[in-house]
């Protein structure tokens, strides 16, 4: 059969140009508009979660000062902060936002293969967000079960929000998973089927590899959350006993018989651990591209980077029980899960080495995206190293319920991915909007965020070693804690409020740049990957004008010896030598 790229084969499947404002910006089927819708919604709920964390910090730093924060609120804040940040912000932003924007552009396709499904995915996601937000306003308020929603306490008297709050939470998760599945099918199929001519798998930018593998993980792991949400919903509403043990509540028998809370933990973490990598893998991929572009060097060890992504994806399914050491388990299981957990450090470390080696002797341009990318290497190494401590059963047991864990996971899957998010937004801002952002504001934003988050989380490690328990509303009179622990807590709160406030710089930058920003060059960074080679900036509907691009090389041809330009775009033919190539050596 004569070979026709699949992206060409379906050219008769119409790509209607949207006509009205409504079809162009609201019910849009264009992956770029959907990406922006996803991104804005995710950042909006992220701001709510940021506000919640500020409230928690106020209470922890200055207990007995704020009458509007009581223990019930505090637990609701914890729960919603965690759930929003992990699922509704990071998962949605990386896969729904960046996945949608970058996949078709980077692989040289006109759109996702199922544009209608893609649109549906966003609106269902929005519905899940609305259900989530609604739970703040129902009687009893949002659930305060902690983001892990462990039974039995998640639906027992004494936990805030056990009336409608927990029901809405579980319903919202269910709806989110439906939305994610619709999006995920699209991302996987698009990456597999809609690549342009010459775009082999091993020529895809690492961003796409990261997003692709994260989507696969999401598709296989989210069902675990769905199963546990459905079963918990049944336990809550019609009194089945899947998870609920025979238990007496405030002297009364709620009527449950012999269910297994541990079963819930297994299901939850079977989703929960891959979820960490659903957030991390896109960040890994994107940061590789940022480092390579702004260091003007090809990514070090591209194939290793790809295999590391695949290996991390596979391994992430066999480590879940390291979240359950304190729940008690057969010591052999503990040994098994500690081993697999530590093995995951190998591909991860390969990635870190490769990032550092990419910078080695590179022509480093410290623009805002690059600052964020390098900042990510620091925070990720710190968060990753404490993970090695916590992966060991014996070290985890005493540290598990302390601030050490809070510091660990915020460094590794809070701060690190968020730094990448910012770096990526600055990096692609010129392409998305056609305007340049303000470099000075961007750099201020980076330094204040980066140093500020260190001021928050570094001291938390010490609090954890000292034994300050996490999840507590107030420390009270705890003899083994020195008074200085409270001083440190106050300092952390000040830093946290500072970091939260400096995020205004980002929004100011975005709005000013959108209004008055300099018109952006189509390829301001001299990047080689396809999304910078579109005929229009920002790309129009259909992305590529009349002809689809052809891909002749990988995305990392930076500073190739003998070439005049220090980058060669992916769609430049291998036979065409730019001026100066063959004559360089003769003179």
């Amino acid at each position: 059969m004569a070979y026709v790229a699949i992206a060409d084969r379906d050219h008769d499947e119409e790509h209607h140009d949207p006509q009205t404002f409504i079809t162009k910006y609201v019910w849009s089927q264009d992956h770029k508009v959907i990406a922006i819708q996803y991104g804005c919604t995710a950042i909006f709920v992220g701001l709510i979660a940021l506000g919640l964390s500020a409230m928690m910090r106020l209470q922890l730093g200055f207990p007995d000062t704020f009458s509007f924060i009581n223990p019930e609120n505090y637990y609701q804040f914890i729960t919603m902060h965690g759930m929003i940040m992990v699922i509704y912000l990071l998962t949605a932003l990386f896969l729904g936002g960046f996945g949608n924007y970058l996949i078709p552009l980077m692989i040289g396709s006109r759109d996702m293969v199922f544009p209608y499904l893609n649109m549906l995915s966003y609106w269902v996601y929005l519905l899940s967000v609305l259900i989530l937000i609604a739970s703040f306003f129902v009687p009893g308020g949002a659930t305060g079960a902690g983001w892990t929603l462990y039974p039995p306490q998640a639906i027992m008297q004494g936990t805030p929000g056990i009336d409608l709050g927990i029901i809405l939470m579980l319903a919202s998760l269910g709806v989110f998973i439906v939305a994610f599945t619709m999006g995920g099918l699209n991302y996987v199929t698009t990456v597999l089927q809609a690549r342009c001519k010459g775009m082999t798998l091993m020529r895809m930018p690492l961003s796409i590899w990261g997003i692709f593998m994260a989507t696969v993980l999401g598709l296989l792991a989210f069902p675990a959350l769905l199963v546990s949400a459905i079963m918990m919903l049944l336990d809550k509403t019609i009194m089945t006993s899947f998870f609920m043990p025979a238990i007496s509540s405030m002297g009364a028998d709620p009527g449950y018989t012999g269910g297994s809370p541990i079963l819930f933990q297994h299901l939850f973490w079977f989703f929960g651990h891959p979820e960490v990598y659903i957030v991390a893998l896109p960040a890994f991929g994107i940061v590789s591209d940022l480092l390579s572009t702004h260091a003007r060097k090809n990514i070090f060890g591209y194939r290793m980077m790809v295999w590391a992504i695949i290996a991390i994806g596979g391994l992430s399914f066999v480590v879940w029980a390291h979240h359950m050491y304190v729940s008690g388990m057969n010591p052999y299981f503990g040994f098994f899960f500690a081993t697999t957990t530590l093995i995951i450090a190998v591909p991860t470390a390969i990635k870190v080495y490769n990032w550092v080696l990419t910078l080695w002797e590179g022509n480093i341009h410290l623009r805002t995206p690059m600052l964020f990318a390098i900042g990510f290497i620091f925070t990720f190494i710190h968060g990753g190293l404490t993970g090695l401590f916590l992966g060991n059963v014996t070290i985890d047991l005493p540290l598990s319920d302390t601030y050490f864990v809070v510091a660990h996971f915020h460094m590794v899957m809070g701060v690190s991915p968020i730094l990448v998010v910012f770096g990526a937004i600055y990096h692609w801002f010129p392409k998305i909007t056609g305007k340049m952002y303000n470099e000075t504001l961007g750099k201020w934003h980076f330094w204040m965020t980066f140093l500020g988050t260190y001021a928050i989380y570094l001291p938390m490690h010490y609090l954890g070693f000292a034994g300050v328990p996490r999840r507590y509303f107030a420390m009270g009179n705890t003899d083994f804690l020195p008074d200085s622990a409270q001083d440190l807590n106050a300092a952390i709160t000040v830093s946290a409020l500072f970091v939260a406030a400096t995020q205004i710089l980002f929004f100011v930058n975005v709005f000013i740049s959108l209004r008055n920003g300099k018109k952006a060059d189509p390829n301001p960074w001299g990047a080689a990957s396809l999304e910078w080679q579109t005929p229009d900036t920002p790309p129009k509907h259909g992305n590529w004008g009349h002809d689809l691009p052809e891909c002749h090389r990988w995305a990392y041809d930076y500073s190739v010896p003998g070439y005049e330009d220090d980058f060669i775009p992916q769609n430049v033919s291998a036979d065409v030598a730019p001026a100066g190539r063959d004559h360089g050596g003769e003179h």
Binding site: V113, K197, T200, V216, I230, T257, L267, F270, V318
Partner: protein, 218 residues
């Protein structure tokens, strides 16, 4: 969790094997012209087929996890094995017939035999609806004999497994209904929908056989 892990391991292993095959012995840094070899059409399949296979992997993961939960919960002391209603055997036979009918319709669609489409789709729809009604009657029988969803975890899982399976069938029925409307309104023969649906029906039949076997054997 072992069952969930095994299914997942199979899915992941096949994906990873395929990915590794595509990526070893490739020298990505070498630029070369666009040749047949440099375009890896992963499967010579239409996007919708790839999407369906992906969806089936997701549903497999979903049911594998439910089955894992079943086997973990079963080990606890309060589990009283349930005697499944005999009606389930009839339902199973009906679902097998539905699958056969769909296959027959699909073959007709592939062969361009438009006359067989309408009866084929109708019979499939009737059989599938009969299966759902049969499942509902099984629920009624259990209820009548005092096995409510809260009576025992074995009962609860019976309602859960059959319910989840029925909901997946209902999802398939939506696509079946759209295809049927298109065929009856004479626009086209909905060949692609029918092909995809047939695969989905066979898949759900296998899922049902696994679930039924699991419940019978415990």
């Amino acid at each position: 969790m072992e069952i969930g892990l095994i299914f997942l391991a199979i899915i992941l292993a096949s994906l990873i094997t395929w990915l590794v095959k595509q990526t070893v012995n490739v020298q990505p840094w070498v630029a070369e012209g666009v040749t047949e070899a440099s375009y890896q059409a992963p499967f010579n399949a239409r996007p919708k087929v790839v999407a369906l296979v992906t969806l089936l992997a997701v549903i497999t993961s979903f049911f594998a996890l439910v089955v894992s939960a079943y086997s973990l919960r079963m080990e606890l002391g309060d589990w009283i094995p349930l005697t499944e209603p005999q009606l389930l055997w009839t339902n199973t036979a009906i679902l097998v017939l539905a699958s056969i009918a769909f296959q027959w319709t699909r073959n007709a669609a592939s062969a361009g035999n438009a006359q067989r489409l309408k009866p084929g789709l109708l019979v499939t729809g009737l059989l599938t609806t009969a299966f759902l009604v049969g499942q509902y009657m099984a629920w009624q029988q259990l209820n009548a004999s005092g096995h409510y969803i809260t009576t025992n975890p074995a009962d609860a899982f019976f309602y859960l497994l059959t319910g989840l399976h029925a909901m997946h069938i209902l999802g398939g029925m939506y696509v079946w209904a759209r295809a049927t409307v298109r065929v009856f309104s004479g626009h086209d023969n909905a060949e692609e929908s029918i092909q995809l649906c047939t695969v989905y029906w066979h898949f759900l039949l296998v899922v049902w056989l696994v679930l039924f076997g699991l419940m019978l054997s415990t």
